[in-house]
């Protein structure tokens, strides 16, 4: 099944009296279980692409099917629901809530929308998956950078989403810790998760199975890698 399919995805912004074409008709398909890296210099449109694929934004033109469902024309609340159920986000700056402990941060998506079952148990399982069980009661400021990103990854996993979007996941980490995080993402991909990662670091991108190069709002180059670990 195609997790992502876009057709002629376009996004323009009005800046003053002129319009900026951030995305100029991108067509892309990502199969279930793929690990795709999106590369490009700043201003190339990769962040815009990320926001559209994450249902944080809606395209000016073109279509986007997530799990074969057209999500390009959903309302704000409907998009919130899609993000809640089907998408997990991993950010460069982790974006954990400082007042909540690790477990509570992971449980956050489960509190919104309709998720059955034991919230604590599910959050605890996700925490176990990233190997941080003993840190459950620690606040983000009591965790190292790598640990914080693991908690964030657990939060992205907890709802069993169709797609995990990672925005520069190693950008705020030293290279050793960054490598550990990348190993974890590759593991998750091997377990069947579909991951789309934005990065400008070629070494980081090399962990992905497919690398897309963006420039001026278009995908200008696409190549497959055989390195997966």
């Amino acid at each position: 099944m195609k997790i992502i399919q876009t057709e002629n995805l376009t996004r323009t912004y009005a800046v003053g009296s002129s319009t900026v074409n951030a995305l100029r008709g991108v067509s892309l398909a990502v199969e279930m279980g793929e690990f795709v890296a999106l590369m490009g210099p700043s201003g190339s449109g990769k962040s815009t692409m990320m926001h559209l694929l994450g249902c944080l934004d809606t395209p000016s033109a073109g279509s986007y099917w997530l799990e074969e469902r057209d999500v390009s024309k959903l309302s704000k609340d409907e998009r919130a629901e899609v993000r809640n159920n089907r998408i997990g986000f991993i950010f460069q700056t982790f974006n954990l809530l400082p007042r909540l402990n690790a477990l509570e941060n992971i449980a956050l998506p489960l509190l919104y929308g309709r998720h059955g079952g034991d919230v604590n148990k599910q959050a605890s399982e996700a925490l176990g998956r990233v190997g941080l069980k003993p840190r459950a009661r620690h606040k983000p400021n009591e965790l190292s950078g790598g640990e914080r990103q693991r908690v964030a990854i657990a939060r992205a996993l907890v709802t069993s989403p169709a797609l995990i979007l990672a925005d520069e996941p190693t950008g705020n980490l030293d290279s050793k810790t960054g490598a550990e995080i990348m190993r974890l993402l590759v593991e998750l991909c091997a377990e069947g998760h579909t991951i789309l990662m934005v990065t400008h670091d070629a070494k980081v991108a090399s962990h992905a199975g497919r690398i897309l190069q963006m420039q001026d709002g278009e995908i200008v180059e696409e190549r497959s890698t055989d390195v997966t670990a």
Binding site: A80, R83, N95, L111
Partner: protein
């Protein structure tokens, strides 16, 4: 998000900045306390009237002679308000179905070799109760919230009856102390006493009474007294026709003002009072209803109430703006948190609920504190308003409701603002 989780989230939001939060609620505290104090004043005025006029029914008009000071004595002004004025009133005034007359004066009371100079009251069988109530008395130790019935005032024997009043029978009822003084412990019932050399049979003794108002108990002597049928008193105890007080019973309580107008017309006609050049009548009598008394009492509390109401409104608005301000700051400080919550699936209404609930919790906390302060304020308000302030139990839920509404109203804008943030912008916010 479930209500419980919303509540927990909101509580966490508030507790993260306890000092700021507490200071913010100060306006609400003062506002709510003022609401409690204001209502206590109104309630106190009502309670005072109800206590003082327990017997002046809401269907009754009290008519008194206008008096003037002449040669060092209070004398009737204009024509005397007579027993006949009252006697003929029910047949002449359609809205009045009964009138009770009372008269008062002083006399020498004798039994055996004991004599006593005493103020007597000539009354109807029913008007006796009105006299007692206007003395603002109650049986000794009577609980303030227990209703009084006429027979609670009888110590021994009975009151005189309508038949005895109509016939002008020479019977009388003694005050508790008067009976003690005169009979020194003997049973007075059935004995004959002399009132200004007229024989009169004692048929009853009142219960021991005390002034309603504690401060008045030293100066008043409610247990000295002699009650006689009004007709007997008028015929035997006055040199000239005395003025009476008339209690007119109105047939329809909703027509008190019409009844007063009819009574005035009737009395003006009997007393021959012409319309003055200014269109007003130079009446020689005045009328009082329970509504009049209530109005006058409430007037005195009203000024003070107005002040407090103004204070309440200003404080609540200031408090509300304080809450709005702290919530706006909070939304701004937590922009990134809002972005994260939206990214993981919070809908607009989830964000609204979270911040609105925080605002309401803030104001409700202030409300609870204000209720406590308000309750403590009531005795102070009472001391500033001649003892007239009584906590109105209804004011507590009302004041709490007011604080909740304040939180809702002033919390709405910051909450809506939070919910309308763009998640992409919010996530980028530093």
């Amino acid at each position: 998000m479930s209500p419980l989780n919303t509540l927990l989230t909101a509580l966490r939001g508030i507790s993260s900045n306890a000092l700021r939060t507490t200071l913010t609620t100060l306006g609400i505290v003062i506002g709510v306390a003022s609401v409690i104090a204001t209502l206590a004043l109104g309630n106190g005025a009502r309670a005072a009237v109800n206590a003082n006029f327990r017997f002046l029914g809401s269907d009754q008009v009290q008519i008194d002679q206008d008096l003037e000071l002449k040669n060092g004595q209070m004398q009737a002004q204009g024509k005397t308000l007579t027993y006949e004025d009252g006697l003929n009133m029910p047949s002449a005034v359609p809205l009045v179905d009964r009138a009770e007359m009372t008269v008062s004066g002083s006399a020498k009371l004798r039994y055996g070799r004991q004599t006593d100079d005493i103020n007597f009251q000539g009354t109807d069988a029913g008007a006796l109760l009105t006299v007692i109530s206007q003395g603002q008395v109650q049986p000794v130790g009577w609980p303030s919230n227990k209703p009084l019935t006429p027979k609670d005032f009888i110590g021994q024997g009975r009151f005189f009856t309508d038949a005895e009043v109509l016939a002008g029978d020479s019977v009388c009822v003694l005050g508790y102390q008067t009976a003690l003084d005169l009979f020194e412990g003997d049973n007075p019932i059935g004995q004959t006493v002399w009132v200004n050399r007229k024989p009169c049979q004692v048929i009853g003794v009142l219960a021991e009474l005390e002034a309603l108002n504690v401060e008045d108990r030293i100066n008043t002597r409610p247990n000295d007294g002699l009650f006689l049928p009004v007709s007997f008193a008028i015929q035997n105890l006055f040199d000239t026709e005395p003025w009476v007080t008339i209690i007119a019973h109105v047939t329809d309580e909703s027509k008190m003002e019409e009844a007063k107008a009819e009574i005035a017309t009737y009395l003006r006609q009997r007393h021959g009072i012409p319309k003055g050049p200014d269109g007003k009548y130079a009446d020689d009598f005045h009328m009082t209803t329970k509504q009049d008394v209530l109005g006058a009492q409430q007037q005195s509390a009203a000024t003070f109430s107005l002040l407090l109401t103004a204070l309440a409104i200003v404080s609540l608005v200031v408090g509300g703006i304080g809450i709005m301000n702290v919530m706006l700051v909070s939304v701004s400080e937590r922009t990134r948190e809002i972005g994260v919550r939206m990214a993981v699936g919070a809908r607009g209404r989830d964000v609204v609920a979270q911040f609105l609930l925080e605002a309401v919790l803030l104001s409700a906390g202030g409300g609870l504190l204000g209720i406590a302060v308000g309750i403590l304020t009531v005795p102070i308000a009472a001391s500033l308003n001649q003892g007239v302030a009584l906590l109105d139990p209804n004011s507590v839920p009302l004041a709490f409701g007011v604080s909740l509404v304040t939180g809702l109203v002033f919390g709405l804008y910051p909450a809506l603002r939070a919910s309308q943030l763009d998640p992409i912008e919010a996530l980028r916010y530093e």
